[in-house]
Subunit: 380 residues, 4 copies
C-alpha cells in the first residue's frame, strides 16, 4: 500500500494527541494509503528521546527544518505553540509538503494571512486540527443541519467553558501574551467559532458587543508561588456574531467558569427543530424535531455510537462510547482519506477556511477594544 | 385575626395565578394577618361572573376604580397588561392602598418612574411580582451568595428561553408593540435582569452589545390564518451587563428557542464556587464548591425540598416538590408577612427596586438601537 | 349546580393533601358537580380547631361516626392510618356514602377483603387514592401503552426508593407493626404494584423471590433519643412479579436508599418501545420508539405540560410544571367527574381493584416468609 | 527494558480490544516492563492476515498451540469464546505462561474449576478481563467504599441492560447454548456480579429468587431471515444476592431492555452515603455523603478525569474523558505492572477470584431452575 510519511513538530500535550492519532488511525480505519510515523522534531532532546520511541517514531531530531528537507516526509504536522505555526507551515508548504496545523491557524492575523497565501500558492493540501468537528455527535449535527432539518436558523449559543484559571493557577506561558497571543480567545474561542461555522454552514458577517476580560492581573510564579508576575492575556471573551442568514450567535470562551472542567457546548435553534451538544457528554446529541405532534414532542438523546453515525463503523459495537482523543484519530483518518482521494466524513478545514475563523477572532478583538460592531468585511 | 382585604384587577392567566396564591397562602402558611379575597375587577363581565365565584371572591366589578374606593380593600393587586399598570397602581397608592403589581413594573420607563414616584410619596407598601425569586432553589441560591459562598463573581449567564413564537403562532396582542410595549424584553428579559440582581446582590452599571431582534415580521391573524398582520415587537433580545464587582453577565430572552418550553436558567461562577439553576428542574439547585478536595470536587444537585429550604417548611415532607404556581403562593405569603410586620424569606422587590430593572431594560434598548455601550447612570 | 358533600376523616399529612385537593379542584377544573367541604373529623380537638377553619371546612367533629350519619355528606374521604380504614369505610358504605380511601386499601388482607365485599354490596362508588396514577406523565404512559405503543412487554422495573429511615430516625408509629401493618411494603410497595398494574394493563400472576428486610432493629425513642425501642416493620422489600403476558417485573420498596429522597421510578421495555419515569422529575416522561431509524433512535424527554397531556388543560400554559399535591387535585377532580357521570382521564382504582394490589402484597409477604414462589390464585 | 512477550488467541471483537490495549498501554503508561505484541493465533487465516499486521503483531498462526510452545511468549491472552477458555488457559499455564483470560472465566462451572486448579498449581500469574473494574469512576468507587465512606451497606442495585436482542435479531452463535453456554447470564451477568463483589468488598453468601428468561424462542437465520431456528439461551436473568454484611443486592442482566444500548449500572446505598454509576456516562460517578448538613445534602457528580483519579494521570488533562476501550488499556497496564512487581491501581481478578463469580452465576441458575434460594456454600 502507498505510504504517507508523517513528520511531526512538537511533543507536548498536542504532540501526544497527534502521535496517538497517527498510531491508532490505521488500526481502526480502512485507509487508502498508509500513514507512517517517520520523524518527530522537538526542542527538548531529553524529552524527545523518551517520547519518540515510546510512540514508534522511526527517527527524531531537535531541528524541525530537518523534516522539511526529508524526502520521506509527505505531510508535516505542526503541533507547536501558535507563534511558530507560520514559519513552520510556510517552510513545509514551500518544500511541497502537505501541512496539518494545530488550531488556531496562527497567533496573529498577519501570520494567518501569510499561511493562507502560502497554501494558495502551493499544490499541497493543508489541514487545521479543529478536531471537535470530528466528535461523532457533531458530525451528525452537521449532517442534519446540512440536510435542512432545522430550517431557517434563529439562535446559536456557543460556549467553551473551563474553570481552571483561578487566582491560584501559576503564571505559565499561557498567561503571557507575548508567547500565547491571547488567552481564552485563541485557545477556546477559536474552537467555538469554527464549530458554529461548521455546523450552521453559514458565515458570520458581523461581530458586536465583544468584551475581552482579564479577571486576574497577577499570578504566582510556577517555581515560587510567593512571588507574582503579571498575566497579560484575556481570561474570558464574549461576543455576538450575526450569521448571514439572520441568526444571532452568542460566543463565550472562558477559563474562569469555576466548576466546569471542559464544557464545549453549543445549542442551535431553527424553524423546524433544534440541536444541543455538550462535550461533557460527547457521545450524545440532543435533537428536537418541531414537526412531531405536540403531545409527543421532546428532546431526543441520540447516543451517537451507531455504525451509521460518522466514524463509528470503525470503532466498537453500538453503545460503546469514544473518548477525547478519538477526535484526533478520526481527523487523522480523514486527512489520510483526503490525501488518498477519498471523501472525509465531514468537511476538513484547510488554511483558507481557518483564516476566516481567524478574521472573526480579530473582529472580536477590535469590537472589544473599540467597543463597536465590526463587519467581517472590515477584516480583509 | 386582623384581616388584609385584597382587591385584584384582572382575571386572565396572571389573575388566575394570583387568585390561587391568595387562596392557598393561608392554607399552608402561618400568617400574622389573614388575607381575604374581597373584590376582583375585570372588563369582561361574563368571564368575571364565572371567575369570581369559582375562586371565592366576595364580590366583583367591571370598574376597577371601585376597588380604589372600597374601604374594605387594603391591598390592590394589579395583574393587568403593562400599559395600564401605572394608572391603576398610582390611583391605588393615592387612595392609601398597598399595591402588588405584576412585572414588569410598567410598559415604559416613563410610566415606571411615575409609579416609583407615587410609591415614594405614599406611606403604603409596594410589591412587584418577580415571583421567580420565590422558587426555593433560587431563594437558597440567594442566601448562599449573600453568605459569600461564591466569593468574587466572574460570570453570570442568564437566559430565559421559550420556543412558542414560531411563524405559525398567531398575531395575538403580545406581538403588538402598541399594547405590549415590547416582546421578549419585558416578558422574559425583565425576569432575568431581576434574577441576576437578586442573586448577586450587585447592580449592573453598564449594558452593552444589545441586539433587539424580530425574526418574524408578519404573523397570521388569530381568526383568519390565511391573512397576515405585522408583528411589531422583538422576538428576542440579547445583551451583556457589567456588574459593579466586575463580573460579566450575559442575558438572553427569546421566544424562538425552538424546542424549549420554559427554561429560565442562570449560572453563576465565582472564585469560591458556582451555582446553576434551570426552571425546567425547579426543585433543584446545582452547586459547586471549589474548596472541596480536587478528586472529590463536583456539582452537587440539591433537591430543594428540605424544611430548611426557604418556604419548604410550609409545604410537604422532604422529597415532595413544588410546581409553577407555588412561587406565587410563596410571594403572597411573604407579602402578607411583610405587611404583618414579619420578615419575608428573601427580599421582596418594591417599585423602587423594580425601577432599577426597568432602567436596565431601557439601557438595553438604547444599546441595541444606537449600537453602543450604555452606562446605567445615563438612564436616570 | 348539584353539590357533592365531602366528609373527611383525618387531619395529618394526608388530610392536608386531601383538603387541598377538594379545595383546589373546583378552582381549576370544570366539574359537573360541585364538591363542598362539609365536615372533617379527627381525634385531636385542638389540632382540628386550627385545621378545619384554615381549610374552609364548614364544621368539624372528633367523632368520625358523625360523618356517616350526616345527610349532607355524600362522600366519605378516609385519610386515617391503615388499621382503621376498614371500620370507617364499611360504616360509610353501609350508610350509602361513596368512599374515597387512602392507599393501601387496608393494613391487612382480611380487612381489605371485608372492604371490597362491602363495596360490592353497596350501590355507592368507591375510590382508592393511588394518586400517582394522576401524575400527567404517568397518565400519558398509561395511554401510550394502552394504545399498544410498546407492543409485547418484556421488563418492568419498579422501585420506590426513600432514604429517610437511617438508624438515627426515631421510632415513630410507622415502625410499629401493630399500628402500621407493615413498613416499606404498604407505604411504598403498594404504590409501585398499583403503578405496574395500571401502566401495563396486565395482572401479576405470580410473585417470587421476595425478601422482607429489617436493617434497623432498635430505634431511638422520639422523646428520648438515649433510649431505644424495637422497630417491628420491614425497612425494605424486594420481589419479582410475573405478568400475565410473560414480562418480568421487579419491585423494590425501601426507606434505606440513602441519598434518595423520594424516587418513585418505573421503567418498562417492550418489543416496540420503552418508557421511563422518575417522580423526582415528575413533569417529564422518557420515551423510546424502537421504530425510529437506527441513527436517529434515542430516548425522548417529553415535558408533560402540554394541554393535550392528561389534566394539563386545566392547569397552566405549556412549560409550567406541576408539583406533588397536584396529583391529589387531579384525583379529586376525576372522582367528582366520575360521580357526575363523566369519564375520568384514566381509570380510577376502586376497592375491588385495590384488593388485587393487596393480594399481591400478601403474596410477596408469603413468598418472603416461606421463601418460595406464590401464585396469585393462592391468595384468593 | 525487560520485555513481556504477549501471545493472543482470537481476533474478533475482544481480540481487537485487547490488541489495542497491548498497543496503547506503553504509549500512555510508564511501565516497569515492556509488553511486545509477539504472536496472535486465530482460526480464520484470511482474516488473520489482515488483522495481525494491522495491529503490529510480529507473527501470526492458525494454531493456538504454537503460542504455548513459543518461548518468546510470556503471557497468553485468551479472547476466544467461553467454551475453549479452559483448554487454552490450562495448556498455557502448564507451559508456565502467565494467562490473561476474557470473562467469564469459563462457559461451565466445571471448566472454571479446572482452570482455577491449574492456576493454583502453577507459579504463573492469572488475570481475568473484568475490565469494567478499570473504569476510573468505578476504581474511585472501590476506593471510597474500601475507605469506609458508605459505612454499613444496605442496598446494591446492579443491572447490565442492553436492548439489541429483539425478535428481528438473527440467530447468531450467541443464541446457541451449545456454543455460548448461556445468554445474558455469562455475557452481562458475570460483569455485574464481579462489579458488586469488587465494589463492596463483600461476598455473596446466598442467591435467591432467580428467573432465567427466554423471551424469543425462534430467531431468523443470519443468512436467510425467512427461516427460523431455535434460540436456546436466556435473554434475561434476574436474581437477588445476600451479601455477607447483610445488604440486599439485586441483579438484572438482559438483552431485551429495548432502547438501552449498553447500560452497565450500579447503585449502592450505605449508612453513611451512597454511590451511583452508569456506563452510559462512564466519566462520572455520583456520590452522596449523608454527613453533609441537611439543607446542602445532595448527589455530587464527580467528573472522574482528575489526575488523582485512578489511571487518569496517564491520560489527558482534567476534563478530557475516556472511552470504552480505555478500560482494556488500563487493565493491560495493570497486568504489566503486576508482572513487573508493581501494584495495580485496584485489585486485579485472578482465576480463583473469577471462580467465585462463576459459582454465584451457577447458584443463580440453580435458583432459577429449582425455584429456591441457594447458599453459595452449596456450590463448592
Amino acid at each position: 500500500m502507498e505510504q504517507l510519511g508523517i513528520g511531526m513538530i512538537g511533543s507536548k500535550f498536542m504532540g501526544r494527541a497527534h502521535a496517538n492519532a497517527w498510531s491508532s488511525a490505521p488500526h481502526f480505519f480502512d485507509l487508502p494509503i498508509q500513514p507512517t510515523m517517520g520523524v518527530v522534531a522537538a526542542r527538548d532532546a531529553e524529552d524527545l528521546a523518551t517520547f519518540a520511541p515510546r510512540w514508534g517514531w522511526q527517527r527524531w531530531t531537535t531541528e524541525w527544518h530537518d523534516l522539511v528537507d526529508d524526502t520521506a516526509v509527505d505531510l508535516v504536522d505542526v503541533t507547536t505553540p501558535n507563534d511558530v505555526h507560520a514559519e513552520q507551515a510556510i517552510a513545509a508548504l514551500e518544500a511541497g509538503k502537505h501541512v496539518a496545523c494545530e488550531k488556531p491557524l496562527a497567533g496573529t492575523l498577519a501570520d494567518a494571512r501569510r499561511m493562507a497565501a502560502a497554501a494558495a500558492a502551493s499544490p499541497a493540501r493543508t489541514f487545521v486540527w479543529y478536531s471537535y468537528r470530528r466528535v461523532p455527535a457533531l458530525g451528525l449535527a452537521h449532517r442534519m443541519i446540512a440536510e435542512g432539518r432545522l430550517g431557517r436558523l434563529y439562535h446559536v449559543r456557543a460556549a467553551y467553558l473551563q474553570g481552571w484559571g483561578g487566582p491560584q493557577t501559576p503564571r505559565i506561558w499561557r498567561f503571557d501574551a507575548a508567547r500565547a497571543g491571547s488567552g481564552a480567545l485563541g485557545d477556546l474561542g477559536a474552537h467555538i467559532v469554527d464549530m458554529a461555522r461548521f455546523l450552521t454552514g453559514e458565515e458570520i458577517v458581523e461581530v458586536s458587543g465583544a468584551i475581552e476580560q482579564r479577571f486576574i492581573d497577577q499570578r504566582p510564579l510556577p517555581d515560587d508561588p510567593t512571588r507574582f508576575a503579571p498575566s497579560t492575556v484575556d481570561d474570558a471573551i464574549v461576543f455576538y456574531g450575526h450569521l448571514e442568514g439572520g441568526a444571532i450567535a452568542s460566543f463565550e470562551a472562558t477559563r474562569l467558569a469555576t466548576g466546569v472542567k471542559n464544557s464545549n457546548r453549543i445549542e442551535i435553534h431553527g424553524e423546524l427543530g433544534a440541536l444541543s451538544f455538550d462535550f461533557q457528554h460527547m457521545n450524545q446529541l440532543e435533537v428536537f424535531d418541531a414537526i412531531d405532534p405536540g403531545a409527543e414532542q421532546g428532546w431526543t438523546t441520540i447516543q451517537t455510537t451507531h455504525e451509521e453515525h460518522p466514524w463509528m463503523a470503525a470503532w466498537w459495537p453500538d453503545g460503546h462510547g469514544l473518548g477525547y482523543e478519538h477526535t484526533f484519530v478520526n481527523q487523522a483518518a480523514d486527512i489520510v482519506r483526503a490525501l488518498g482521494g477519498e471523501e472525509p466524513e465531514v468537511p476538513l478545514p484547510d488554511f483558507a477556511d481557518a483564516l476566516v475563523t481567524q478574521r472573526i477572532l480579530e473582529a472580536a478583538l477590535i469590537s472589544a477594544r473599540q467597543r463597536r460592531p465590526v463587519a467581517l468585511e472590515e477584516i480583509d
